[in-house]
């Protein structure tokens, strides 16, 4: 119990979200990741244009993640008190930014395969 094991962490997450929702979210995250890897392998290169659009969504993802977390936890930006708070908040923003960028890139690649021809 002194050790934080992976199983412990899973148990805690199951409790936070409920078993169904948690594993549904894990599944969605896994599907998006697999789809991302799939389009990378399929296209055999990163499309600069799609990547640019995906990057443009990053601030939105970061802000959305922070707003969501603050709302979920009855907190406000003014509650950020020390370095560890900033680290957690930046982590949330970073995860939101990267997550949305991956999703946008993958969605573009799946919806418009080869859509690169117009630009680069």
């Amino acid at each position: 119990m002194k050790e934080l094991t992976f199983a412990t962490l899973l148990a805690v997450f199951e409790e936070v979200f409920g078993r169904g929702l948690f594993w549904a979210m894990v599944a969605i995250a896994a599907i998006i990741t697999v789809a991302y890897l799939y389009v990378l392998v399929r296209d055999r290169h990163m499309s600069a244009r799609k990547f640019l659009l995906a990057q443009l969504f990053m601030p939105l993802g970061a802000v959305a993640a922070v707003v969501f977390v603050l709302r979920m936890t009855n907190s406000a930006l003014a509650d950020i008190g020390g370095p560890v708070d900033w680290i957690v908040l930046l982590g949330v923003a970073g995860a939101g930014a990267v997550g949305l960028a991956i999703l946008v890139y993958t969605a573009q690649s799946l919806l418009r395969p080869g859509g690169d021809s117009g630009g680069d």
Binding site: M1, V12, F68, N74, A93
Partner: protein, 455 residues
């Protein structure tokens, strides 16, 4: 599409965040290596199916094979008590703290849904309210404590929610009624009066938390300037751990709280909206060597809102069992266990877990998390013909909310040493958002996992 994307990514972010928070509480608790179950035919009776009893029963079913494990508790509802402060602050509904006792007990546990009426540690028999007799080889006392509402003269629980009277310790409904009273009070402002009993109590941080939360609402609603926040401390300190006490005093000062020392609540006059206190005799030594004696006196303080916390003691069935300390905490009835092993000092086949233990610290759910593996270790080792080695060091944890959105993660042991789970990362005496997150989102899952015997 936009909504979907937002949802997906922010949930991902949230996951990362929750991982950090959950990690904090998940590491609390001494380790017990999972071994092959020990075969035994021992009869084990656990009194009380609260946090301590339930966690204990579920862990023992995992560790033992063939044992008869009986848990005795007449209460159908399980209360997640650390949530009461959040309910009384309007942040969670009463249902957040409610579940069924039976939902938490694993199949190997026999639940006798009755209260215990008598314990005979010499004959090794527990008698239930209906008169059934349960004989045991080992007894784990996990009854929790009794809130002695009758000790507050003029007060009754049906007053809660009216006339500015709250009592968030009483249960989920009363915690919600307390919120209604606090919400109505903070709309207008006035005198808010808080305090704690002079007995040992569960979660000694909660009276302070609730003072901070009420102050926060007054500020949010623009009523703080028109209000007075009074804290009637039962002694000369706000908290038993000196370094935390100093910090709490600093924050009290910053927030402009008016502290009255040595005030022991004796009664409530709901009609006149006054609280009655006894201030014991005090002696002061002047520089010239003269001693001034101030005799005991009665004090009345008027309030527009108050949160009543009564004296707390062992349930009657325990007080009458002969298991209590004879010379310590006289009148409170906490059981005489060794502070390290939690084994009864006079009856070696009796253990205590949770609030009922007569030890100087440890009346919180986080303490239970550390106590359960210790009792488990000694009990299972004995059944296996070995000697247990786990020791409880008094670990107690209190996420001290200082406003909505901030808390201090205070952890300490018997010696009043701070024992931070994340030294150098989460400062115990700093008001932090991450400590708030732990209280708000990570604590309940960790608690539930503990009940299931998982963590």
């Amino acid at each position: 599409m936009d909504e979907f994307m937002k949802g997906a990514t922010s949930r991902r972010g949230f996951l990362g965040l929750a991982a950090g928070g959950a990690a904090a509480l998940a590491v609390a608790g001494p380790g017990t290596a999972r071994a092959e179950p020990v075969r035994t035919s021992a009869k084990i009776v656990i009194l009380g199916a609260g946090a301590a009893g339930t966690a204990m029963a579920n862990r023992l079913t995992e560790r033992l094979e063939g044992a008869s494990i009986t848990i005795v508790d007449g209460r159908q509802q399980h209360w997640y008590q650390p949530g009461f402060t959040l309910v009384a602050a309007g942040l969670k509904p009463a249902s957040y703290t409610l579940s069924d006792t039976g939902d938490w007990l694993s199949d190997g546990v026999k639940w006798v849904a009755e209260h215990a009426a008598a314990i005979d540690p010499d004959a090794q028999i527990v008698t239930t309210a209906s008169g059934s007799r349960l004989d045991y080889d080992y007894l784990v006392v996990a009854t929790g404590l009794s809130l002695d509402w009758d000790a507050v003269e003029g007060f009754s629980l049906d007053m809660v929610g009216q006339n500015g009277i709250g009592a968030l310790y009483a249960g989920p409904e009363q915690a919600e009624a307390t919120w209604r009273a606090m919400d109505a009070f903070t709309d207008k402002g006035g005198v808010a009066l808080f305090g704690r009993p002079a007995t040992e109590m569960k979660c000694a941080g909660a009276p302070l938390k609730y003072t901070f939360l009420t102050d926060d609402y007054l500020r949010r609603k623009g009523r703080r300037d028109a209000s007075q926040v009074i804290y009637a401390a039962h002694g000369k300190s706000l908290f038993s751990v000196p370094v935390v006490d100093e910090k709490a005093k600093l924050i009290f000062d910053e927030r402009g709280f008016d502290v009255r020392w040595n005030h022991v609540l004796t009664g409530i006059d709901a009609g006149a909206k006054t609280a009655h206190y006894r201030v014991p005799e005090s002696r002061a030594l002047a520089a010239d060597g003269t001693v001034t004696v101030t005799p005991e006196r009665e004090v009345k303080i008027g309030f527009d809102f108050t949160n009543v916390i009564p004296p707390q003691r062992a349930p009657q069935v325990v007080r009458e069992s002969g298991l209590s300390w004879a010379d310590r905490w006289v009148g409170q009835g906490w059981i005489e266990v060794d502070p390290g092993t939690l084994r009864h000092r006079r009856y070696p086949n009796v253990f205590g877990v949770g609030d009922i233990n007569g030890v100087p610290k440890g009346k919180t759910a986080a303490s239970v998390k550390w106590q359960v593996p210790v009792v488990e270790d000694h009990l299972v080792a004995e059944l296996d013909g070995r000697e247990g080695s786990a020791i409880y060091n008094g670990y107690t944890s209190c996420p001290m909310i200082t406003k909505i959105g901030r808390a201090m993660l205070i952890e300490f042991d018997y010696e009043n040493r701070l024992t931070p789970s994340f030294p150098g990362v989460i400062a115990p005496l700093e008001e932090l958002w991450i400590s708030w997150l732990m209280k708000e989102i990570a604590l309940k899952p960790t608690y539930n996992a503990m009940l299931r015997g998982k963590v």
